[in-house]
């Protein structure tokens, strides 16, 4: 285990050190002490390493992640795991706005709540939230799965494309062109896998599925102002 203390070392040096790890590195486990809400911690990683952050992070932690596993043993600020390509990010606490935004792949697990715009414009990422999510989540979501064990805020899935949205609790309101969908066996299977990967005990049968009504796919003059 390699340990890096941000109270004595610089953030830039930490990220440069993590970026220098390649696929054959034997330094596969990293522990980051005293994050103290700093921005961009463990951002832009691209090697199969496991990084554990002991505390809460600020903006854009674990952004653009590829291959790496990042565990945040606290809460995360805005834009955590933004544009993740692959790998896994697990947050023990809450996540602030636009968690997992624009993500193309990988798994983001939030064990607390996520605030507004969770999974906005997601493009293939899977997101599992143990708690609830805020308003405008999955806005323009294109593909991937968003699993919410608690409740969803206003305007869920507004203008979404083909992402699957699973919510166990209540949905305050659905956004434009988002509707409840039939839960078929293949969806229950996807949910079962994601819940297991996301370390969540909820049962797939308790969820409802939401997705695009596909009425915005083609130009409709009645939608113009």
């Amino acid at each position: 285990m390699q340990t890096y203390d941000l109270s004595t070392g610089s953030l830039r040096e930490l990220n440069a050190t993590l970026h220098a790890q390649n696929e054959t590195t034997n330094q596969t486990a990293w522990e980051i002490m005293n994050p103290r809400g700093a921005h961009a911690i463990a951002c832009g990683l691209d090697s199969p390493i496991e990084v554990t952050v002991r505390g809460s992070t600020g903006y854009y932690s674990a952004g653009m992640n590829q291959q790496a596993t990042v565990n945040i043993k606290g809460s995360a600020g805005p834009g955590v795991a933004e544009n993740m390509m692959s790998g896994k990010v697990v947050i023990d606490g809450d996540a602030s706005q636009y968690a997992g935004a624009t993500g193309h792949g990988g798994l983001l697990v939030i064990k607390g709540n996520a605030s507004s715009r969770c999974g906005i414009s997601m493009k293939g990422i899977n997101i599992v939230v143990h708690g609830s999510i805020g308003h405008m989540s999955a806005f323009m979501a294109q593909s991937g799965n968003l699993v919410v064990c608690g409740d969803a805020g206003e305007a869920l899935g507004d203008s979404c494309y083909e992402a699957r949205l699973f919510v166990r609790g209540t949905v305050k309101s659905l956004g434009a062109d988002c509707e409840e969908k039939e839960m078929r066996p293949e969806h229950l299977e996807i949910l079962r896998t994601l819940l297991a990967e996301g370390e969540c005990n909820a049962r797939p049968e308790e969820f409802k599925r939401y997705g695009s009504a596909r009425t915005l796919y083609n130009f409709n003059i009645d939608n113009a102002y």
């Binding site: 103290r36 809400g37 700093a38 809460s56 600020g58 903006y59 809460s75 600020g77 805005p78 809450d94 602030s96 706005q97 605030s115 507004s116 805020g134 308003h135 405008m136």
Partner: protein, 298 residues
Amino acid sequence: MCGIVGLFLKDKSMEAQLGAMLTDMLITMTDRGPDSAGIAIYSQDTVNIGKMTVQSDTPDVDFDKLTDDLKKRIKGDVDIRVQSTHAVLELRADQVVVAREALKEIRPNIRIMSTGDSLEIYKEVGLPKDVASRFDIAKMSGSHGIGHTRMATESAVTTMGAHPFNTGSDQCLVHNGSLSNHNSLRRKLRRDGVHIETENDTEVGAAYLTWKMQNGSTLGEALESSLEDLDGFFTFVVGTKDGFGVVRDPIACKPAVMAETDQYVAFGSEYRALVNLPGIQNARVWEPEPATVYFWKH
């Protein structure tokens, strides 16, 4: 972008450290707002004594013999405490209005930062660390306070454009965001006789709250109606004589983090601002909900 910090103490034994804690929080928020900084601090309430915090770009000239000149005009006692470009005048509470009018004539270059029984507002252009040290904020004590670091978007970088804004006796407002209907609202408020000095959007927000309260709203009601009448992005933190409140617009894209322990309630634009507070590891930390008014009172 701007930075906001706020601290409301429940534990009286911490009051002597209020200024030091707020200074640390304010400086941490420098990269959210390096243009100017300000702080509103609520200190010991004085019986029947009113406080006016005033500012001058030429303090040597304007503060010289100010108490003598003002005493003659209001026919009452005036004490003065000069802190760099600011001075706190203490006088009989019922003479504050007369003194404000008198100052316009005897010292036309003086600007009023705040009036109230316990509120003092200090703000200037410059880096937060320089503003804080110029006023020696770290040595100030009090029951609660609010600080702001400004990155200007809507109007010029000037002392009067810095936050906090005094919205009424012992009331203040700081803002992160930008209001988009401030021009039309300013015209409306001016037609109703509300004095608005600058082209700054936040000053309009502050004047709006003052106007609402002058027309019978409580602060809570004024904040509720701001959600209807103000268009744009805002996270507001407001201070009153015995409390402080937080409200965010319904879109809530301007960040906000709160922490509460048995000893205090704290606000920061980012968690970074809160990390040096005592007991933060075990505090309840959360993000205030959009379009929801939060308020704490002594």
